[in-house]
Symmetry: C2
Subunit: 99 residues, 2 copies
Amino acid sequence: MTLDNKKIERISKALGDPYRLKIMHAIMKMEKAQKGTCSMPCSNLVEMIDLAQSTVSHHIKQLVDADLLIAEKEGRNAKYTINKEVFNAYVSFLQPFAS
Amino acid sequence: MTLDNKKIERISKALGDPYRLKIMHAIMKMEKAQKGTCSMPCSNLVEMIDLAQSTVSHHIKQLVDADLLIAEKEGRNAKYTINKEVFNAYVSFLQPFAS
DNA sequence: TTTTTAAATCGAAATATTTGGATGTTTCGA
DNA sequence: TCGAAACATCCAAATATTTCGATTTAAAAA
C-alpha cells in the first residue's frame, strides 16, 4: 500500500494535535490490552478528554478521514479501531528519511 | 532517543504541509544522490517551490524547529541536512500503532 | 409511542497558520 | 568601501483550524 502526497499530508496533520494523539493512544492501549478486535466508544473518549462532545467528534472525524481510524457503528455506539495498514504505509513513507 | 508528546506534535505538524513535504523530499533526494554530507541552499528551494522567499524561509524554520532539519551557515548560504536520528525516533513512536 | 442516550452536524466565535512585501543582517565580490 | 546576494525577521492580510452550544439523527429503553 502506497500513500500519495495528499494522504501523507492528511495523516501528518491529523497526528499534529495533542488531543488527537491522546485519542490514538487511548485506542491503541485498549487494543493492546484486550487482544483481538476491540471497541472504543466515543463516550469513553469524551469522558477522558475534557473537551465538548462535538469537539471530540470533530477530532475523531479527522482521524477517520485520514484513515488512521476505522469507524463502525454498533447500535448507537461508535466503534473505532486503528488502521494498522495505513500506519505501516506511513512508516514506509518515512523510512527513507530515517536511513 | 525518545520524543515527548510536544515534540511528536511539532514533527507531525511540520510534515502536514505540501510545501514542507516537498522541501524534505528535495533535500532527501539530494543527500541520497551525493552520498555523504550534502548542502541544500535555500535559494535552490525557493526556485523550486514557487512561493515567496520569506514564505519558504518560514516553512524551513518550522522544519528546523521540529528538529527534522539541521541548519548550518556556510558563508552567506544556509545548509540543511536531514536529522535521521529524529526521523528514527518518530518512526519508533509510530511503530506500536503499526503492529 | 415517547423519552433517553450516543454521536454527528451546523453555525459562529476564537485562535492559529500561511503568505508575501518590506526591511534587516551578514557575507561575498567588485 | 560599496553594492549585491542569501537568508531571516517583522507586519498585516487571507485563510484554515479549533472549539463549543444548539440542533439533528438514529437506536435503545421505558
